[in-house]
């Protein structure tokens, strides 16, 4: 079976995705498609299941039901080689998760060398290229602990890009950053989007969603409440729940009723 997708085939396709943790149903039947080159932002209140959704795409969480198809491969099929799929799917975590015992450059070469079996020189070249792209070409010899949070997250992006993925998953990439460091990371992500990278982004950055996303998905209570272009979902939401959420995010200090 060919793992390659044709132009029209979506890079990610979720059909009725269900995820339960014990008795708690976190995802209650999600249908979602991400086309090649598309940037999809998932927004919603905490506990709405958006991170879980993202983690089901590369099987960091095992779906309880439904189908997850990535680049034409059904990853929910028990016989699928998930490691092979993950090689083409980059992921950026909220907590960076850089490898602290490796230098910045080694962080970006270790998977190339050990997984993709790329030669040492080529791996370093690629790593250097992507580090340069995130503006850290001169920090290859540093250890993660010597970098600021924003720099660490940019290294994490370069690490994922070094595997030359054709889908990038971002799990609240700026939520652990000091406010003044958020901009640099978002700038790198915007650059990626402009170059045509397929991206699925869980975020609280409404400005980013509005400016960069092709499509915004609003989730609440484990279901997709509303989706569409940002001009609709962010600027003119139809659903009351979406309006309420956006109001809370965009006007956090405004006095509200009972449970505000």
């Amino acid at each position: 079976m060919s793992a390659r997708t044709t132009g029209s085939e979506p890079v990610v396709q979720l059909d009725g995705l269900v995820k339960r943790f014990g008795d708690v149903e976190v995802l209650r039947g999600i249908d979602l498609q991400v086309a090649r080159g598309e940037v999809v932002c998932v927004i919603g209140p905490s506990g709405s299941g958006k991170s879980t959704l993202l983690r089901c795409v590369n099987l960091l969480e095992q779906p309880s039901g439904g189908r997850v198809v990535v680049r034409g491969t059904d990853v929910t099929d028990p016989d699928c080689d998930i490691d092979a799929v993950r090689r083409h799917v980059g992921m950026v975590f909220q907590a960076f998760n850089l490898f602290p015992h490796l230098t910045v450059l080694e962080n970006c070469t270790v998977a190339q060398r050990k997984v993709a079996k790329v030669g040492k020189e080529q791996a370093q070249q690629r790593a250097q290229h992507h580090l340069g792209r995130v503006g850290l070409g001169d920090r290859g010899d540093a250890y993660p602990a010597q970098l600021s949070g924003g720099q660490q997250q940019r290294v994490a992006i370069a690490r994922a890009l070094s595997m030359e993925p054709d889908l990038m998953l971002f799990d609240e990439p700026t939520s652990a950053l000091d406010p003044e460091l958020v901009g640099d990371v978002l700038e790198v992500m915007r650059g990626l989007a402009d170059e045509g990278m397929t991206m699925l982004v869980v975020t609280h950055e409404m400005a980013f969603a509005r400016q960069v996303a092709d499509r915004v998905v609003f989730m609440d209570g484990g279901v997709v409440v509303e989706e569409g272009p940002p001009s609709q979902v962010v600027d003119a939401p139809r659903e009351a729940r979406t309006r309420d959420f956006l109001d809370r995010v965009l006007n956090p200090t405004r006095a509200r009723g009972a449970d505000g």
């Binding site: 490691d83 992921m91 015992h101 998977a111 997984v115 993709a116």
Partner: protein, 277 residues
């Protein structure tokens, strides 16, 4: 507070005890006083001449050289390292078994660890040194093999638990990041988790080495020729020969020559780990 503070110098005890800072200063003063009194008593009561004759007989001490170093100290180090190598290898296997998804492996490792952690090391030495040759006539355990086995089997139980704790102390996100890059579970464990676990367990592992150094003294139950003696046996034999405690002191100092620097290393490693967090 209704009363004015009493003028300085005329403060009563009760007044002093009311302030936590003064109370702490008073307590410290009392502790120093007790220490000084104890030292004075010790020096005045002890018969220093007798002590010097028994422990610090320079002639007897000189007679221990060079064998106490070239034979006894060297053997202690050799036995310890042999035991540590086996303990470490077996401990790593036990740790991975304890963390296995295959339940019987977990059970076996748990039973092993509980058993060997609960037994006196001396009993294991007796079982291997005396028990095996008696129970299986014809089986001859080379001395080095016997020491390695006895120290290694006991040490593995402790080191296994240390390594397991270290592996579990590596944050889950590290494995997730490795897996998301396409690494298999095994590859992630070998390349990402174990190197980090070792940084975490270096201090407790060094402690295990100190404990093994001392446990190597149990080799005496195996009996030994002069060339096979380690520090404790050496000191004990010299004690009988010279009827003096000095050889015991010399042997003790030799242990400290090994263990004190190791302890220093542990503290350095611990402070380094504390800083990098």
């Amino acid at each position: 507070m209704t009363t004015q503070a009493a003028p300085r110098g005329r403060r009563g005890l009760r007044e002093t005890l009311r302030s936590p800072r003064r109370r702490a200063r008073l307590s410290r003063g009392v502790q120093y006083a007790v220490l000084v009194v104890a030292l004075v008593l010790l020096v005045s009561l002890a018969d220093l001449g007798e002590i010097r004759r028994a422990f610090f007989n320079t002639e007897v001490a000189a007679a221990q050289l060079p064998a106490v170093i070239t034979v006894a100290l060297v053997n202690t180090v050799i036995y310890t390292l042999l035991g540590f190598v086996l303990a470490f290898a077996l401990g790593l296997v036990l740790a991975l078994m304890r963390l296995s998804t295959v339940a019987p492996y977990r059970w076996i490792a748990t039973v092993y660890i509980e058993a060997f952690r609960g037994l006196p090391a001396l009993l294991v030495f007796i079982a291997i040194g005396t028990g095996i040759p008696l129970a299986f006539p014809g089986v001859f355990l080379d001395r080095y093999l016997a020491v390695t086995l006895a120290l290694g089997l006991v040490g593995a139980a402790y080191i296994g638990e240390t390594i397991r704790a270290g592996i579990q102390a590596v944050p889950r996100g590290q494995v997730e990041a490795a897996r998301s890059l396409g690494m298999s579970q095994t590859r992630a464990t070998v390349t990402i988790v174990i190197p980090q676990a070792f940084r975490i367990i270096l201090p407790p592992l060094t402690n295990e080495l100190i404990i093994l150094t001392k446990d190597s003294s149990l080799t005496y139950v195996l009996g030994s020729t002069f060339a096979q003696q380690e520090l404790t046996q050496f000191g004990r034999n010299a004690l009988n020969q010279y009827q003096s405690l000095t050889p015991v002191l010399v042997a003790g100092l030799c242990y400290l020559v090994i263990t004190v620097p190791l302890g220093f290393v542990v503290r350095r490693l611990e402070s380094r780990t504390a800083r990098s967090r």
